[in-house]
């Protein structure tokens, strides 16, 4: 039992939570404002991861700098995706009538394209590099510096993003859009511009998460899907469209993953995880923190 109280597990849970929070945030933002299910989110992460990998391999610059490039790259992709496809879908009455299903399929198409595009370009070898990998003692725990970097940067980025949407004018407008699409356009909020920015930020967050994770984990063309699933679990736990709730969901998922496994058995990790996920969905579909979202 003393294992449960160890700093090692606490740190691991926090690190995992910070990754999940970051990954889920972008997904949540896009779902919240536009009701689009971006199943390619994890694959966008991998895109960011590859970017940082290659920058490190070719120029020797680590993700602490290249993450800005990764964000830029994925944000541009987000803008392109919004301007070329999403705007068309939202504007087309027949397509917009079944937005969730249609967006799911479109992004599934994206996911396949990104995965196989990456694999065509870089082969499907798992990629990893050693950066900030010296080991630090934190209390009685030992942790790689890069994981601490993920924890720090992930937390700052997630918190910054949530605060931004909580307090900035743009954030207020976005939240108005999240709460009531029709009403928001009535009070003169330029939905189109907000949606464009939300896409940039949402995709950019995925790129950032991928860039950070590439320091600590291997990057492969098909490695994104598990992150997408985790991110979905997180935002369901926290409530679809509820950014603050997403942070809570991330912490909860990390706790289940680290402590749930430590207390029961790692064999039940997935059963535990999906079990909690499904129970929450059935009992409180609006999420643990969510108000009735429908």
């Amino acid at each position: 039992m003393d294992q449960i109280a160890s700093t090692q597990l606490l740190l691991s849970a926090l690190i995992l939570a910070s990754i999940y929070a970051l990954v889920a945030l972008g997904l949540n933002l896009i779902y919240g404002t536009m009701r689009l299910l971006n199943v390619a989110h994890g694959d966008l992460m991998m895109l960011g991861g590859y970017f940082s990998y290659w920058v490190f391999q070719l120029v020797g610059i680590g993700p602490l700098w290249s993450m800005f490039g990764a964000v830029l790259l994925t944000a541009i992709l987000g803008a392109a995706c919004y301007l070329s496809i999403v705007r068309y879908v939202i504007g087309n009455r027949e397509l917009a009538a079944r937005l969730e299903a249609n967006s799911l399929l479109i992004f599934f198409g994206f996911a396949i394209i990104i995965q196989n595009g990456l694999s065509m370009a870089f082969t499907s070898d798992p990629r990893s590099y050693g950066y900030l990998n010296s080991i630090l003692a934190v209390g009685d725990a030992r942790v790689e510096l890069n994981r601490l970097a993920v924890l720090g940067l992930g937390t700052v980025a997630s918190a910054g993003c949530v605060l931004f949407f909580q307090f900035s004018r743009f954030g207020l407008a976005t939240r108005a859009l999240i709460q009531q699409r029709d009403a928001a356009s009535l009070v003169g909020i330029n939905a189109d511009r907000i949606q464009l920015l939300v896409f940039c930020v949402g995709f950019g967050m995925a790129g950032l998460a991928g860039s950070l994770v590439s320091m600590t984990e291997t990057v492969t063309p098909f490695g994104g899907f598990p992150y997408t699933i985790s991110a979905f679990v997180v935002i369901i736990l926290g409530g679809l469209g509820n950014l603050g709730g997403g942070i809570l969901g991330a912490v909860l998922l990390a706790i289940i993953e680290i402590y749930g496994v430590a207390l029961t058995s790692a064999a039940y990790r997935s059963i535990l995880l999906y079990g909690v996920f499904i129970t929450v969905l059935l009992i409180r579909p609006q999420g643990l923190l969510g108000r009735s979202a429908r």
């Binding site: 294992q3 090692q8 082969t123 499907s124 080991i135 291997t218 680290i258 430590a262 790692a266």
Partner: protein
Amino acid sequence: MSFRNFALKAVLAAAALSVALPSYAADPVKIGVGIAKTGPFAPAAIPTLNAYQMWADDLNAKGGMDVAGTKRPIQLVVYDDQSDFTKEAAIYEKLITDDKVDLLLSPYATPFHFAIVGVLERYKFPMVGSTAASVQLRTIKPGNIWFPTSAIPDKMGPELVSLMKKQGVKTVSISTLQSPFAQEMEKYVKAALTDSGIKLLSSQQYAMDVKDMTSIVSAIKKEQPDAVLSLSFPADSILFMKAAREQGLTAPFQFVLVGPTADFFGKIFGKNLDGVMTMGHWSPYQTKWPKGMPFFEAYSKKFNQAPDYLDVALAYMSCEITEAAVAKVGLDKEKLRKEISSTTFDTIDGPVKFTGVENSTTPTMFLQIQDGKPQIVWPPKEETAPFQKKGPWVN
């Protein structure tokens, strides 16, 4: 590679193929393969395909394959199974009935082998397998498929325990991926541990989509075992090694089931891979097998990376066996079956002879990475280097 670039290459390749084919004097020997070029198995499967390709290129450079005395060029017909073994039966059927290949080479990994057993039987088509290992393979009717591996869990279990005993291991902790091969291994290791004098401190399984192995490793670390067995596959082997390094797991005997033999593993872990034990029964440093080192060097040169000491070795062995059998009896299926079933073949892994579907000559061995090189450390009479305790993890 950009799309245009890719398309261009595809067109060029097709053109090259259509031009190149008639230039051969004799009819090419068509050899069929279905393997994961895309999907999650692709990273592990591509080196196997590389081995096939290198073998084919070498033969063609030497004027072709010896078919019972006449040299004929060979042509690989390769299809992608998209890492989905439920597609494999159809692919091998296509190879046999539609492409009318003369010979077959095996797909990557155990389930994919199992998925084509029925097809091979139906068409009475002999094929030498490669990267498959399971106690279940013995339940297959012999005659159409053979497995050159000697890393079968019911043999590895007792051998691994003997090795640990010899190294003075008193306590052991095991973690196992919930995947058929790892679970078989766990079962036989545990069976061999009873009455061995080695105490099993803990044994835990974890699910396939594990993301963080901190709690598993930290539980093991608390137990301070002499030996740690991580019965894992590449993805979670990486997680295990990272967590072990991070937490400074100090057990002198650290065994990682699948992964350490792969080139990318060395690239990720560098010096930290030294001292790690793994399964495998081939090393280029075994002087008894003179074909080993040249193969190692040729492969490394051609693909700019070391061959996987387990998978690539097995894949190449299957080519060598096929080649030798064809040289002697030609392409007749019945004769091939008899030849493969009865002859002792000389391979990069020494002599191989099959009894039933199984390689009955090559002993079960274990590798340890020392100075970045795979050394055979067990059994004693095959040893290329003595066992070393796992040193401290480095930065």
